[in-house]
Amino acid sequence: MMTPEQRERMRTRIREKLSTAVLPGARPEHPGVLPLNTTAASADDLLDGFVREFTALTGIVHHATDAASAAAAIRSITPTPGPQSILAWSESALRVPGLYDALAAQGIGILPAHVPFSGPERTARLGELAAAQVGVTGALACLAESGSLVVEHGDGRGRLASLLVPVHIAIVRRSAVVRSLADVFRHRPDLTASTSNVVVITGPSRTADIEMTLTRGVHGPREIHVILM
């Protein structure tokens, strides 16, 4: 906790400096919000826009109608054959009832996601999670303008499933597509109330640090997939 004295010192110091600050264009009232782009766009237009942008970022789009077809899509994306364990959000967070059973039928098990703060359990758990090839999450929204996924972590919705693995798969509903990040923030001002972490993901992990040459998968996933339900 910041002590009241410390807080007061910060406040006083900044107030004192503000009295002589030269801040061109500053207004005492907040500048408000830019009007949202409300040009009529059908749900199909938005979806097309998202698919176009997401694909341009090397994202791959799959389609599924139920747990069995979603599990089949996940199996087809999984880079290594045979039985294996993956990272995934809880079944209720993924909102595909019966998905875990359908995956089990494909030889795919789900790793326990909870990471303890310390102790040998922590090391063991991280070791298991880091060995997985695939992570499956949902997404709060898909952005038509930028091909992004807005991923809201929380109960049963771990961060590592979209982060630690080389291949990230997001299961989303067609109705989740909106135009832009502004739409999400405007309609969900309470977004951060329910979770410690929201991430907007726009394409696979990338770097261009060496000779400005684009390379994927430097720290996070090198592949990103969406299964549209």
Binding site: R7, L23, L34, G158, A193, S196, V200, I201, E211
Partner: protein, 493 residues
């Protein structure tokens, strides 16, 4: 990292480094075209930039209020906030936190402010292992080098430099450094081990949202997410000016930042963190979150005519378009923040005297102001700093300047001085050229020669030719200075 070697010496060396010149040409031209293309395809891009500027200006004008709100909200979410008036206080807070939590290994995300604090050195002195995890910053760290660009720290190195470094420091095989993809994969393996074993993650902050108490980190690599998700303690270091009021404002900033920095619509990961892991439901994330608000000279900058530099969102666009940066690169500036932004920020934070050359390293062409996503008037502040450097310069220079001021405001004395000076210069000239000036003036002639001034000054000729003609007045000047009147002769002198 300010060294004793003068700015001019470093700039001179950079200009004669052919490899650096090639790397800078490639990098800056690509980044400039990426940004231009991104904004060309951005509907209402100008309106969004104007709005972004209004948000920055307003926030700073009520910074006391917004810092208060932010602090309250971070604490309400279970995070800790520390206000560090100086860099030393920030370093001390992190050191004692690390000691009290028995931290042995630390991973770090890219953070310009940690460079400013020289944090790594202090933590290493305490026996902790600290690993930079941004690929470029990692290369800098193992090569004992300094970043040369805000968003592209190793623009000054080639793939061969990096390959040689990986072989020397990591014992990499030929196959592991065969190409950029292989080197990136090697770095992923090495750094993944560091992430999994780290007790503490230290990150920078791109924006902090007052109304929600969130910090937002933008990275393309994902190292920012790993740093803030895996270790059990997350320390977020931010300058006190990083605040935006609302989530909606954050959305505006993220759009202009990504487009200006790399030409992307959004950075790959815009990572919004609000307090530590919420147990028991959330399966991962840190146990503790500490936000360190770093002042370190910023309040001082806020209280003066350079306050506008605090609107900066650290996109690096002004570096890429700057004709001086394009030629000399980031190292020549000798400071953490290079380029136009650094030439204002560094003297602002640390005083003009040791950095008086930086505001001179500009042609005042205005390219930086044009490129800036929040339209910061950098040239205005460079001029202000030049003025300041005169008042704080050595006595002989101030005396010279006041002599000049005296002369320049008295036409008769100025004309006389012109005649005397002209005569002296003609006396020093050879075959109509001056190729060497003595003493402090020699810099003027080190790379070029000047034509000797003519016996009759421009003013004298003008008056002779225009004797008896009506004097040009105001906007009518064009009509009196006809084709017979002016430039051809003036140009032929």
């Amino acid at each position: 990292m300010h060294t004793n070697v003068s700015f001019y010496r470093r700039a001179h060396e950079a200009l004669h480094d052919a490899r650096l010149q090639g790397a800078l040409d490639l990098a800056t031209s690509r980044m400039v075209s990426a940004r231009t293309t991104a904004f060309a395809a951005f509907p209402d891009g100008d309106a969004v930039r104007d709005h972004a500027r209004r948000i920055r200006a307003h926030t700073l004008s009520r910074l006391d209020h917004y810092l208060d709100r932010f602090t309250e909200n971070v604490e309400a979410r279970g995070g800790h906030v520390f206000y560090a008036e100086s860099g030393d206080q920030a370093v001390e807070y992190i050191r004692s936190l690390a000691r009290s939590r028995h931290v042995r290994s630390i991973v770090k995300g890219k953070s310009m402010i940690s460079e400013e604090l020289e944090l790594n050195r202090a933590l290493e002195a305490d026996g902790m292992t600290i690993v930079e995890t941004d690929l470029g910053e990692y290369v800098i760290q193992i090569g004992n080098d300094h970043p040369s660009h805000i968003v592209a720290p190793i623009v000054h190195l080639t793939r061969h430099d990096v390959a040689a470094l990986f072989k020397r420091t990591l014992g990499a095989t030929d196959a592991e450094v065969a190409d950029i993809g292989a080197m990136t994969a090697l770095a992923r393996r090495v750094l993944r081990e560091a992430f999994l074993g780290a007790d503490m993650g230290i990150s920078g902050v791109n924006f902090a949202v007052a109304e929600t108490g969130s910090v937002c980190l933008c990275t393309n690599e994902g190292n920012g997410r790993l740093t803030t998700s895996l270790p059990r303690i997350h320390v977020a270091l931010m300058g006190i000016e990083r605040i935006v009021p609302t989530l909606d404002d954050l959305g505006v900033m993220l759009q202009v930042l990504a487009r200006s920095a790399t030409g992307q619509k959004l950075t790959v990961y815009s990572n919004l963190l609000t307090g530590p892991r919420r147990s028991p439901g959330e399966p991962d994330g840190p146990e503790e979150l500490h936000v360190v608000l770093v002042d370190n000279g910023r309040a001082e900058v806020l209280g003066g005519e350079l306050a506008e530099i605090l609107y900066c969102i650290r996109c690096g666009a002004c570096l890429n378009v700057c004709p001086v940066y394009q030629e000399i690169g980031g190292h020549a500036y000798g400071t953490v923040y290079g380029g136009p932004i650094g030439s204002v920020l560094t003297p602002g934070l640390r005083g003009i005297v040791p950095f008086k050359d930086l505001p001179q390293a500009s042609s005042l062409c205005g390219a930086c102001r044009e490129a800036c996503p929040v339209r910061i008037d950098i040239p205005r502040m460079l001029v202000a700093l030049r003025t300041q450097s005169v008042t704080e310069s050595p006595a002989w220079l101030r005396a010279g300047m006041s002599v000049y001021t005296w002369l320049a405001t008295r036409p008769a004395a100025f004309r006389l001085a012109g005649r005397v000076g002209g005569a002296m210069l003609r006396w020093r000239s050879r075959d109509g050229w001056i190729d060497r000036l003595p003493g402090p003036l020699k810099g003027w002639t080190s790379t070029r020669a000047f034509p000797a001034p003519p016996k009759r000054s421009f003013l004298a000729k003008w008056q002779a030719e225009h004797a008896g003609r009506p004097q040009p007045t105001g906007d009518g000047a064009n009509s009196t200075a006809g084709p017979t009147g002016n430039t051809p002769k003036a140009g032929a002198q």
